[in-house]
């Protein structure tokens, strides 16, 4: 009989508050350690826990702006975590009371400092700067807390004063109005910061719970970058509540480890999904229902945000999000029923010299329904079925910005383009297992490009790697993220009588190609590289110091790649086009220093100049977005239901999507590569 095998499903996860007052931290720590010993990919003896990185991670979580601790407090915290007799993570259990008291005292002191210095003199004319990396401010604790606080205040005020150059210019008309505006903003920033501290005090689980969750995660992060602890509230609050309140816009919100409101999930098939503009983990910084005022979410609780949205009667909402590289985007979303989530994959026909199918897949979703295990691979299959009926000669599968998802779907999807054989080998602690193509035969045999970039991670990289390994598709774009590992979600204490458990998402498998190599840490290197804006230049698996290494395995597999593709010839032709393309040259000219600048000046004039330069760059990027290809037109692939015009409300959205495809220089280049390839075949 047909052999089915189970794969590890990769889930979306995040940190959350901890709330049980009778909670036994010591036994929970022991359970977590036991789980790591039993289930983590590598044997426990071989793991070296770096105390320093664990502590730094912990401080980053509990004091991201480096303003909470004074120098003595910082040193005391360090000694409580690091230099006691007990090993990490048991040191928390031993010192929980002292840690909690210390943090409470330091927070109270900071709050008092803020309250007593509402009229603090903030000078923007001196030379001063701040270093920010990945939303964490790096200052030295040997600088006095007062000085650090003023630095931080200046930074926040400048952000408020100069969200854009034009806004600043508009308030900068007279000295009087400027002074008033500065004073107003200062009070607003300080009040919000006080609110943030009060929120930490007011948490259900108290300070101890707050610290514990961050500590246990620092411990797990110091073992493996994708291993994580999840409290039961996270599962309950962020999945159930949000499903009912937010589902109509197609996103689920949650809270990140550093208390930011983020997108936890994009419902496949929803309006949000179909815009293709949002990604999981994007930070939500503003929400503006149609005809209502902007609600800044930076200091808000998740509940407040949800209440604000549910109160609004408007069907439209403007969401302002910040992606991982700090870029801001405004995305318009519409409220709609999600019953018609059949077409979760967007497919179009690019009609030009060659009729090409274009499929956009933003994430690897799967169905949890026991009767039917259909997920995105099945939807891509249906799209290809329809595209083949329309007589396509080539296919583009766009996996850019696809952060991954269910591994099973990735294997099924790659399999529809490959006849037979081992696609990947998964390696757990004890065994090697061949992940074979589910079905013999192929669904589509024609020329094919898979588009990837730095933000193509996990399952999307897997598909690209397999199709490259089998010489089945040309991989075009940028080197992918480099995560070739799988995680399992396991209850910390399975004997608990509660229906919800605290859980650990634990790295339990690594993935290798059929020949034994892996793209772990290295990423999938495209066959044809195209110039990229430096948005994601620092974003890669290797940014984690403890990322799994890139090694290889030896296993018997049945693996017969197809004839190699004429890559060097296609690459030469593509390079010639890129050199002559004004847009690609513009992309190349974008200075990564300016875009990814981590040293921000706190001098008003300098900050203004930095912002001006950044805006100039953004203008350049806008110019690229306005490009119009002459190579093809974009046609929808309507289903019967869509063609019958019930989707009238979607017509604007489809127009936008079509416009995006039509102006995307990377899609155009992929199309040209396929043109060359078909020409070569003849």
């Amino acid at each position: 009989m047909k052999k089915f095998t189970t794969f590890t499903i990769i889930l979306f996860v995040s940190l959350s508050l901890y709330s049980n007052t009778t909670f036994d931290y010591c036994s929970d720590i022991s359970n977590v350690v036991d789980l790591v010993k039993k289930k983590y990919l590598l044997p426990y003896d071989s793991i070296s826990i770096n105390r320093e990185s664990c502590f730094n991670q912990f401080i980053g979580y509990i004091d991201p702006y480096q303003i909470v601790f004074d120098e003595a407090g910082f040193q005391e915290m360090k000694s409580l975590i690091n230099t006691t007799g007990a090993t990490i993570p048991h040191s928390f259990c031993e010192n929980a009371v002292a840690l909690t008291r210390l943090y409470e005292t330091q927070l109270s002191q900071l709050k008092a400092l803020m309250e007593q210095n509402m009229d603090v003199d903030v000078n923007f004319s001196t030379s001063d700067s701040i270093f920010i990396d990945d939303e964490i401010i790096h200052a030295h604790y040997n600088l006095s807390r007062e000085n650090r606080w003023v630095k931080y205040l200046k930074y926040r005020m400048l952000q408020e004063l100069m969200p854009t150059v034009s806004f600043y210019d508009s308030i900068n008309v007279s000295q009087q109005s400027k002074r008033e505006c500065y004073a107003e903003i200062k009070i607003e920033v300080i009040k919000n910061e006080i609110k943030r501290i009060d929120r930490i005090f007011g948490r259900k689980g108290g300070i101890k719970g707050f610290l514990y969750l961050r500590f246990i995660n620092s411990y797990l992060m110091s073992i493996d970058p994708h291993t994580m602890y999840l409290s039961e509230e996270m599962v309950a609050d962020f999945q159930e509540d949000l499903a009912t309140t937010m589902v109509s816009f197609g996103i689920k919100l949650g809270v990140s480890s550093d208390d930011k409101i983020i997108i936890k999930k994009i419902i496949p098939g929803s309006y949000a999904w179909r815009t293709g503009l949002l990604n999981v983990d994007d930070q939500v910084v503003g929400i503006q229902p149609e005809g209502d005022k902007l609600f800044k979410t930076e200091y808000a609780e998740l509940k407040e945000v949800l209440e604000y949205i549910s109160k609004s009667t408007s069907d439209g909402i403007l969401l302002t999000v910040k992606n991982k590289s700090g870029q801001l985007k405004n995305v318009y979303l519409r409220k709609e029923q999600l019953e018609n989530g059949e077409n979760k994959v967007e497919s179009f026909i690019l009609e030009g010299k060659i009729k090409t199918g274009y499929i956009l897949l933003p994430a690897f979703y799967t169905s949890w329904n026991e009767d039917q295990v259909f997920g995105c691979a099945q939807d891509v299959g249906k799209a290809i079925y329809q595209l083949k009926k329309k007589g396509i000669e080539a296919l583009i599968l766009d996996l850019r910005n696809n952060g991954g998802g269910a591994v099973k779907e990735a294997v099924e999807l790659a399999g529809i383009f490959i006849d037979f054989g081992t696609l990947m080998v998964s390696k757990s602690r004890d065994e090697l297992f061949s992940m074979k193509d589910f079905n013999r035969g192929t669904m589509y045999n024609g020329p094919m490009v898979v588009m990837i970039n730095r933000a193509s991670a996990s399952a999307s990289e897997m598909v690209a790697a397999i199709l490259q390994d089998y010489n089945r598709a040309l991989i075009v774009g940028d080197t992918s993220f480099g995560k070739a590992s799988g995680q399992q979600l396991l209850p910390v204490n399975p004997t608990s009588r509660k229906s919800n458990y605290n859980q650990v998402k634990i790295t339990s498998a690594r993935y290798y190609l059929a020949d034994g190599d892996t793209y772990q840490k290295r990423g999938v290197v495209p066959d044809i590289w195209l110039p990229q804006t430096p948005v994601y230049s620092d974003y890669h698996e290797s940014m984690f110091p403890n990322a799994l290494s890139n090694n290889s395995i030896s296993k018997k597999t049945y693996y017969k790649p197809l004839t190699p593709l004429p890559i060097s010839s296609l690459k030469n032709q593509s390079n010639r086009r890129v050199v002559n393309s004004e847009e690609f040259q513009l992309v190349k000219s974008i200075d990564s220093q300016i875009l990814n600048n981590k040293y921000l000046s706190l001098n008003e004039k300098e900050y203004y100049q930095q912002l001006k330069e950044l805006e100039k760059l953004k203008l350049k990027l806008e110019k690229i977005k306005n490009y119009q290809t002459e190579k093809f037109t974009v046609e929808e692939l309507f289903t019967t239901a869509e063609s019958i015009n019930f989707y009238k409300q979607y017509s604007d959205l489809y127009e936008d999507l079509k416009k995006n495809i039509h102006s995307d220089i990377y899609i155009e280049e992929s199309y040209s590569i396929l043109e060359d390839y078909i020409h070569l075949q003849k």
Binding site: K3, N340, R440, G441, K556, Y558, N645
Partner: protein
């Protein structure tokens, strides 16, 4: 629908020959020594014949299994007897060669394949247990045939060394076994061609049952390839002693599979995809306020309902016709196999 599955037989091709006493003392002793082995061989041949007949003619799996167990018992006993023989004038070559051959025969008939081949490699190339089993058996048969030839050479070399004249004096049983073995070998060749396509169709039907469009399309294309390959292979397999019946039946079966995959399944798959779309449309239509529907929308919906209904009729007709053709062809295959076995493998 049950198909004849007689591929479970393993051929024990032991080319032992009878010996005549030679002229010298040495050769007489050598012939006697060889006879001791011959006795064991005869017992094995008898059990092997029973087992072969059961495989070819019996409809009872239990009976075939019983015969296999009996054959295994005899093989074990024979191996022990030969092993307990002393050397012939310090020459162990014949004894050891026969023991090794009996050992391999035992392993093959006992299906301890992992002892003689890399089962991991076999599993890697197979999609299910039956396929792995057939592949393993193919490899095992080849190994056994090679070992049989090697042992025959040792036997002949031994006879020559000690001046024993060998005369091929085949018993009736030997002849029957040899004949059956050839007939089964031929059958197995055709059966493997048949089985690959049969199994591939099973996957396709399973995919249709699950309305899994990816699996349908992939298995449909795979069935076309398997049927094409099979039809080519059948051209290279000549008749068996003028009997082309199972080859013809297999060709008809493969032609049916090819036609099913190329022409009939697309009709069925189209309907399955359209049915999904129709369900979506229907849900949308029914969720709308009747008063707000335009005439154009109602007309389009009604047209879609008509198309859906005629699609159902077309689906059912195609499905019934495919099922009926399949049944006819499978029955013809089963009948052809039964007749072939009766013709070429004696019942007694």
């Amino acid at each position: 629908m049950k198909i004849n599955n007689k591929v479970g037989v393993c051929m024990l091709i032991v080319m032992l020959v009878c010996s005549l006493p030679g002229f010298t003392q040495d050769s007489r002793e050598a012939a006697k020594y060889m006879d001791q082995i011959g006795v064991q061989y005869k017992q094995i041949q008898k059990e092997n014949w029973d087992y072969t007949r059961a495989v070819a003619h019996s409809r009872s799996a239990r009976k075939v299994e019983r015969k296999r167990t009996e054959l295994l018992k005899i093989l074990r006993k024979a191996k022990q007897s030969v092993k307990s023989l002393s050397s012939f004038k310090r020459d162990y070559s014949l004894r050891d060669s026969v023991v090794a051959y009996f050992d391999l025969s035992f392993t093959v008939i006992n299906e301890d394949y992992e002892k003689i081949m890399d089962m991991e490699a076999v599993a890697e190339q197979s999609y299910d247990l039956m396929e792995a089993y057939l592949l393993a058996q193919e490899i095992a048969s080849e190994k056994l045939e090679k070992a049989s030839l090697e042992m025959e050479q040792v036997y002949k070399a031994f006879a020559e060394k000690y001046g024993v004249n060998l005369i091929e004096n085949k018993s009736e049983l030997d002849k029957k076994l040899e004949k059956s073995s050839e007939a089964l070998k031929y059958y197995n060749q055709v059966y493997l061609v048949f089985f690959k396509a049969y199994k591939q169709e099973m996957y396709l039907l399973d995919a249709m049952e699950r309305t899994d469009i990816n699996a349908i399309e992939q298995n449909r294309n795979a069935l076309i390839s398997v049927a094409d390959e099979g039809l080519e292979k059948l051209k290279t397999i000549s008749t068996y002693k003028g009997d082309n019946s199972i080859n013809n039946a297999c060709r008809r079966m493969l032609t049916f599979y090819k036609d099913e995959a190329e022409n009939k399944v697309p009709v069925l798959a189209d309907f399955l995809v359209k049915m999904d779309e129709f369900k979506e449309l229907d849900k949308l239509f029914k969720s709308k306020d009747r008063m707000q529907l335009t005439k154009e929308e109602v007309d389009k919906y009604n047209k879609a309902v008509d198309e859906h209904n005629s699609g159902i009729t077309k689906f059912n007709n195609t499905n019934n016709s495919v099922n009926s053709k399949r049944e006819t062809n499978v029955n013809a295959w089963n009948t052809a196999v039964e007749k072939y076995m009766t013709r070429h493998i004696p019942k007694r």
